[in-house]
Amino acid sequence: MTAALALGDDALVLSHRLGEWAGHAPVLEEEVALANIALDLLGQARVLLSLVGDEDELAYLREERAFRNVQLVEQPNGDFAHTIARQLYFSTYQQQLYDRLARGDGPFAPLAAKAVKEVAYHRDHAEHWTLRLGDGTAESHERMRRGLEALWRFTGELFEPVEGCEVDWTALHDEWLARITAVLDRATLTVPEGPRRGAWAAGAGRQGVHTEPFGRMLAEMQHLHRSHPGASW
């Protein structure tokens, strides 16, 4: 169940990051939009992690090295443009991956068929904001550009084949890049040119190697459950 853990952790961790915007988003409407996306992802995570074991134990009691999410989703929110850049990279990837899984006959086909509609909306949301920020004011353009540049080195890992997902990863990558390029063109932005992987840790989230901010995120996410095991309301 390597794949369920990988995809489930992607959804869980990104959900938590997006949830951190609650109370901090630039406008109320966006706060609700980001929270809705976070809840969609949490729903996906619950289904996927339940395939592996007890969802609460997996979410709240695992150590950092046991998480199999890509490093992209654990990156801190930064400013709004930074979050949108992360959303654009990830939701484009997730939609294309789930679309392929939904058309296949693997164990994830039913889940993917349901989730792909949610994810299509997440991508739509990210694309609309990318267009508005990129083709907006000089400052919004610059912030969007910075977000895209900063996260670019975490995009190589997305296309590492995940054991148990029978998809053509090369085709997935090419389709992803074509889509990202088209959106950034329209937004008067350019596709970053730097390396797709960092010099040290980037590119190993699927093996349990994570970046420094992830530990702090987990501490916050797991704190309540670890302090009060089995707490509920």
Partner: protein
């Protein structure tokens, strides 16, 4: 964005149609930079619990509303003309859905 406030964005009125065959009903309002984003925010704010099959958004400043000052000339004359109301019919027994 961090210093932005919703006051800088125009206000939109949201109308949601709950089911096929019904009319669009005013659901509320929201701030958005343009119509496309207003539609998306409306979807998130007003149709999350499957309330709708169709959404309209209208810039609030494009709505011409009757003013409270004109309430009397607008609506008062209708109040003392009971013959305009279909209340003088005997409803035959057995007629339902009236």
């Amino acid at each position: 964005m961090s210093s932005g406030t919703s006051g800088e964005w125009p206000l939109w009125e949201v109308f949601v149609r709950g089911r096929r065959g019904l009319s669009h009903t005013h659901a509320g309002s929201l701030h958005a930079p343009d119509a496309e984003m207003a539609l998306r925010s409306a979807r998130d704010l007003y149709t999350r619990r499957s309330e709708g099959v169709s959404i309209w958004v209208v810039p609030s400043n494009r709505i011409t509303a009757s003013s409270p000052d004109e309430k009397d000339p607008f609506f008062e004359p209708a109040a003392d003309k009971p013959y305009r109301h279909p209340t003088f019919y005997e409803i035959p027994e057995g007629v339902r859905h009236l």
